[in-house]
């Protein structure tokens, strides 16, 4: 009897393990697959499995040795394989010149951070809900594509608005084809993304992602106006940051959770993770604009100041150096303004406070995602938050 039970348990365990890894795809022999089979991963816990001892994941600052845990990037690499090819394919059935312009920024040079987060969240939620339907995963991959298309369409329009001359070390799209055709190509990308969205056959998802479009425009408008009242400025900056950066990530995360069958509580977890990570992401970007060298960034330093934008480091610095306030109001237009602001920011505690705020957002994101059933994907989302903070050093 005892032997039978043990055998049954063993069989149950191994069949579960096989089932668990089969969803990683047909590419056996890849790193994630081997990782799951070779080592008894203590975080690999599922309700149906035999209870193993699992370390608590409820702390705010989860410290896990980064080297052992696969990154989000590597875990979803297979899922996202061909992402850019697929996007380009979707934009190819049109006039030759339009095809060229539309495909220009989809050459795979981007960081693809949005698809990575989206797909990793999709996997984490699927694991949490024990969602294994292949069609769900297919649709979630489409969300990753759509998110990247919306993001890129907004980059195309941004380059015209900001009169940019380069992006990712290449001439920007408006330089190559002129402003008019670039804007229209951006509309085309958006239209194709909307068509893809409609084909997912989920009304709630369409509502979520169309809200992103409204937020992106509103964020751009918010960026145009400077708040007179300095006490309102930070709130204005936060809201603008949500609309311009975090909104897309937050709603994409929520969208994949909806496709997985999440209830509103779980959707909120996904949304909040996306939101906090998005906010942190922008804060780190704003920080790096001051401290990184132009070689690291791929664009000139203090670009934000040159564009007249007062980001978090400047806003924090202005609390100490009130002489920054008139500069902020006139958007650093006078000669010497940008240089003065740059100097004052470096002298102030603006950078440190920005780091602290970014850390706070990351910790919040981790707290959110800790509510999911532990899995390599859930862990990778935690690691992502840590990697983000790591970039600030």
């Amino acid at each position: 009897m005892v032997i039978n039970v043990k055998l049954t348990n063993l069989l149950a365990y191994s069949s579960l393990a096989v089932r668990r890894v089969s969803h990683l795809g047909k590419h056996h022999g890849d790193l994630p697959y081997q990782l799951l089979l070779s080592k008894p991963n203590p975080l690999f816990h599922h309700k149906k499995q035999i209870q193993t001892v699992v370390p608590s994941t409820s702390t705010k600052n989860v410290t896990v040795p980064v080297e052992n845990i696969p990154t989000a990037d590597s875990l979803v690499r297979l899922d996202l394989e061909g992402l850019y090819e697929d996007i380009r394919e979707g934009l190819s059935e049109t006039q030759p010149e339009l095809k060229l312009i539309a495909q220009y920024y989809f050459n795979g040079e981007g960081k693809a951070i949005r698809p990575v987060i989206t797909m990793c969240m999709a996997r984490a939620i699927n694991f949490h809900l024990d969602q294994n339907t292949p069609s769900v995963l297919q649709k979630q991959k489409k969300i990753a594509q759509i998110a990247e298309m919306i993001h890129t369409a907004s980059l195309v329009h941004d380059d015209v608005i900001d009169v940019a001359d380069s992006r990712r070390s290449r001439p920007s799209v408006n330089i190559v084809w002129g402003q008019r055709k670039s804007i229209i190509a951006g509309d085309f990308i958006l239209a194709m993304a909307s068509k893809m969205l409609a084909r997912l056959q989920n009304k709630q998802v369409i509502i979520l992602l169309s809200q992103v479009l409204a937020d992106l425009v509103q964020g751009e408008f918010m960026q145009l106006g400077a708040r007179e009242n300095k006490d309102e400025r930070f709130a204005h900056y936060s809201e603008k940051t949500f609309k311009k950066t975090a909104s897309l990530i937050a709603y994409s995360c929520q969208a994949v959770s909806v496709l997985s069958g999440a209830d509103s509580t779980l959707q909120a977890v996904a949304f909040q993770y996306g939101r906090q990570i998005g906010m942190a992401f922008q804060l780190v970007d704003d920080l790096l604009d001051f401290i990184a060298t132009s070689a690291q960034l791929g664009k000139p330093v203090a670009a934000d100041l040159r564009l007249g934008l007062a980001t978090a480091p400047v806003l924090f610095a202005a609390q100490k150096f009130t002489e920054l306030n008139p500069l902020i109001l006139r958007r650093f237009q006078e000669p010497g303004d940008a240089e003065t602001a740059f100097r004052l920011v470096l002298r102030s505690d603006g950078l440190q406070r920005t780091k602290d705020l970014a850390r706070q957002y990351c910790n919040d994101a981790v707290t959110q995602i800790a509510q999911l059933t532990p899995s390599p994907y859930q862990q990778a989302l935690v690691t992502l938050a840590h990697q983000l903070l790591h970039r600030m050093k």
Partner: protein, 336 residues
């Protein structure tokens, strides 16, 4: 049935015969056409009468009434553009205050089709259908604004600001359309309108030059279909889907296309008449070089009229009511 001034004469002359163009009235209107101003009044009259049947389209009013922050931002920046010569000013002016009643007529056509299709005429146009009419006007406005972005090779602060505003205004209208569209909760309609946006973007890359298979006129038709036809066709289709008039969906598609082509053809004729440099106008390129001005006009009027007649023929499929009559009036008014 409510009678209106403009419609009484149609009804008394020939009740229930929408199919054929009434020859008597056409001659009357031709005699009255001593100047295009009076003929344009036919259009304005037809549109005004139609508005009384389905209610004034509220496409841009709702934007103003919601006191959105962006609108006040836009107004401030538009004022700064005065004197710069950026096309956005003219476009915005035409959209807000249209003398010839064209800025919301696309939406109006959608409303008319929605109303005309209703078997029970006491039934009102559905809120969803009104929203769709608004979406049609917003998308069209976004298209006009975005195509007004100018190519700048040298830095020019005020024109750059104009471009910036053009991009943002257009994006604002498109985003709003998408949000409204999503809330209609109909996947087919989302796809149809997305296709319209995709089509008018593609239209910018079509050149009106004859090639091995197509004449220049064919290319014009193709470009106009993409630029204006798809939007009206798909909007009419969508409205009929939302109104549950499944059997009339095909009608909506073809009627929308024909009326859009007729309308655009008429616009080309009017602008050609007013053009200072005839040789720069698109109509000049559609006919062999050296064709006299009057011949270009009459040839293209024939093109326009084929589309008007096609639209009128499609309208024959509709039940006879105030709204379908109003559609006939509007179509006929294009023949000026």
């Amino acid at each position: 049935m409510v009678s209106r001034n403009g419609l009484i004469c149609w009804k008394t002359l020939q009740s229930g015969c929408i199919r054929s163009t009434n020859p008597v009235n056409v001659t009357i209107s031709r005699r009255l056409c001593v100047s295009s101003q009076i003929c344009q009044n036919n259009w304005v009259q037809a549109v005004s009468n139609a508005e009384k049947i389905v209610g004034l389209p509220t496409s841009f009013l709702s934007l103003r009434s919601e006191a959105i922050d962006e609108i006040s931002n836009i107004a401030v920046y538009l004022k700064k553009l005065i004197g710069t010569g950026h096309p956005l000013l003219d476009t915005a002016k035409n959209l807000m205050y249209s003398q010839d009643k064209t800025n919301q007529t696309r939406g109006l056509l959608v409303l008319l089709v929605s109303k005309a299709a209703k078997i029970d005429q006491t039934q009102d146009i559905l809120p969803k259908q009104r929203t769709l009419a608004e979406i049609t006007d917003l998308v069209h406005a976004a298209h006009l604004i975005h195509t007004g972005v100018i190519n700048l090779n040298t830095p020019n602060e005020s024109l750059e600001m104009g471009n910036k505003m053009a991009v943002l205004c257009g994006d604002f209208l498109l985003a709003r359309s998408c949000v409204l569209l999503a809330n209609l909760q109909n996947l087919k309609v989302v796809e149809l309108i997305a296709q319209a946006i995709s089509d008018f973007s593609t239209a910018e890359f079509i050149d009106i030059v004859a090639n091995e298979t197509d004449s220049a006129l064919d290319r014009w038709r193709y470009q106009s279909k993409l630029r204006y036809g798809t939007l009206l066709a798909h909007a009419c289709q969508s409205s009929l889907i939302l109104g549950d008039n499944v059997d009339l969906v095909e009608f909506g598609k073809y009627f929308g296309l024909e009326i859009a082509l007729a309308w655009q053809a008429n616009n080309e004729i009017q602008s050609y008449k007013n053009a200072k440099e005839k040789a720069d106008h698109v109509l000049f390129k559609l006919f062999p070089p050296g064709t006299p001005f009057k011949e270009v006009i009459s040839n293209f009027q024939a093109v326009r009229d084929t589309h008007v007649d096609a639209a009128l023929q499609m309208l024959g499929e509709l039940p006879k009511n105030d709204a379908s009559l109003a559609l006939c009036n509007i179509a006929r008014a294009l023949k000026y």
